[in-house]
Symmetry: C3
Amino acid sequence: MKRTIALITDFGLKDNYVASMKAVILARNPYLNIVDISHEITPQNILEGLYILRNCYSYFPRGTIFVVVVDPGVGSQRKIICIKTKRYLFLAPDNGILSFISDEAIKEIHEVSNKRYFMRSISNTFHGRDIFAPVAAYLSKGLKPSMLGRRLDSFKKIRIPSPKIEGKTITGSVILIDKFGNLITNVNKKLLKGTKVIQIKNRKIKKISNTYAQSEPGSLIALIGSSGTLEISMVNSNAAKALGVSTGDHIFVKRR
Amino acid sequence: MKRTIALITDFGLKDNYVASMKAVILARNPYLNIVDISHEITPQNILEGLYILRNCYSYFPRGTIFVVVVDPGVGSQRKIICIKTKRYLFLAPDNGILSFISDEAIKEIHEVSNKRYFMRSISNTFHGRDIFAPVAAYLSKGLKPSMLGRRLDSFKKIRIPSPKIEGKTITGSVILIDKFGNLITNVNKKLLKGTKVIQIKNRKIKKISNTYAQSEPGSLIALIGSSGTLEISMVNSNAAKALGVSTGDHIFVKRR
Amino acid sequence: MKRTIALITDFGLKDNYVASMKAVILARNPYLNIVDISHEITPQNILEGLYILRNCYSYFPRGTIFVVVVDPGVGSQRKIICIKTKRYLFLAPDNGILSFISDEAIKEIHEVSNKRYFMRSISNTFHGRDIFAPVAAYLSKGLKPSMLGRRLDSFKKIRIPSPKIEGKTITGSVILIDKFGNLITNVNKKLLKGTKVIQIKNRKIKKISNTYAQSEPGSLIALIGSSGTLEISMVNSNAAKALGVSTGDHIFVKRR
């Protein structure tokens, strides 16, 4: 079976960084699929990387190796870890970016420290090329994660902001703004039963639409987005710009 | 023969949308080539998507499956269609984005409605992942378009602006502005025989150059672009910015 | 062995240009890996393209074919060349962009002029699609470079700015600014022995750090970057913006 390596970084597409990683991978295993999840993560924004990875990883083929390089601590004592779940392998700095993986899904965690699978010369600033890429290539050829380093009992978790429920009011937040200006929130659709009104900035929305197409261009609507949470959109327009919303801003759901 | 799936969307490259589509495809068929045509179509700009697809599709290998997701009507009653031509398969919302395909080239049109080939759970906002991607994957494995839904006699066409010819004057328009600021027009090279002067904004160009390199940096030139139509360029510079031109602006060709 | 074709251009990712090149390649050889090095080279900036290619090419698998299309002279009398080195093939306009290849590494240089391997119809403005792409595809299938045209003794070289050493002062320059705002200079690490102070704009840095993570967020640091030269960074921030630095700006290293 042809393996997939999926890359998510904050490297952008102009510089040579992503290409260097792919070069190192293909020099070790040219018989695989490399997929770019995103290289446009805001520099060093671990939480944004986490959300974007969480939104798509489960659609990848069984056996996919996720290589996650949003790594403000590169060159420090921060560990690199390899997490094996029932379906996937994840390679990431131990900085919390994999906090979305539930403990139940995890089969093994290993430190990545065995220099045998690294580049011979390792820079202090580009472990994506010098460690992550060659290790991912060897994993794609069947290397067992246990060969990478000692087994770990746990890995670093960061708090993923979740909505606060007080009486009939849910206070959630905008966690991502997509290219269309849609506001993706952390309010799960299960929380939306009996919604009376949704408020963001000074705007109120009184129903949950099924689609963009039901409403007039320019109207502000609420709907269940493709990741299963409340989204706010402006039909054929950009809600984030029109409302002046940034990630982290609050959204309020009032229920009957 | 290894099949190609070519993607064109307005999803951008930062969010997880394109990656989710590729994940769904590879989970069903990892033995193919996926090519990104563009994910930077201006949101919901059907005509721009049409032009960019039209400019390149004919270079793709026979059997390529084009997956076109510029889809302002997602979740509405708009159909999804599969068009089979002599050389290719096209999968797109029935919103006119495939209007460039000539009736003569078409062998079959089918509605895409057979849920058997969709994701089990279908969101209202992301048919790229939930319908287009799995259907494309099955087509790449040999599924007949006739399995996707009932046969259709026609599909939605939109008017593609064409130049107006009045006496010795041709009034065309700028249909695309590329990254270099070149102004790509809809005036076919066949119309340029006997050209005396070309006018755009308040600038006049009196000859048609063969190449950029013939003229001084900074000069405004007219030439036949790579898609066979009149293009206006500023040598080693950005004509669109220098002249303040937007897509849709008129260009005038006066012939002898 | 599965071959790799690596593309570097100034075409951007919105237009159809890159897709047209990939289409032409895959129509001739679907059994290879295509890697995008970068398509975001500043339009016509040969030196920038040179630096980005130089930073990554040596990591690619043996036999990789590099297709380099930063080509302000397209359509003019400038030659297209194919350089064969011990490990790689390079296809580029003869405009100096391959000046980083040392004479010792070169095995053969050929002009690319044999129309048999071009598209049948050749535009004046898009040799990427009409010449580079089909030639690269045939090379990937084993075509000998000597079939492409007459053998050349030399190719065009441009001056790559190198640091000036006067007494205890080295005057280097910023050659690239990456997405993070890191300032990549041309001062090789070998020149940094005995460094007392580094000056850029009106800021002085008194030591060379090993990693970003050693210093407080916001501090300006100097380190050896991943391409082996002096880099200036602002920890978790953007040095280029904070200091107002552009490529070409000078950096001064004073040694003991």
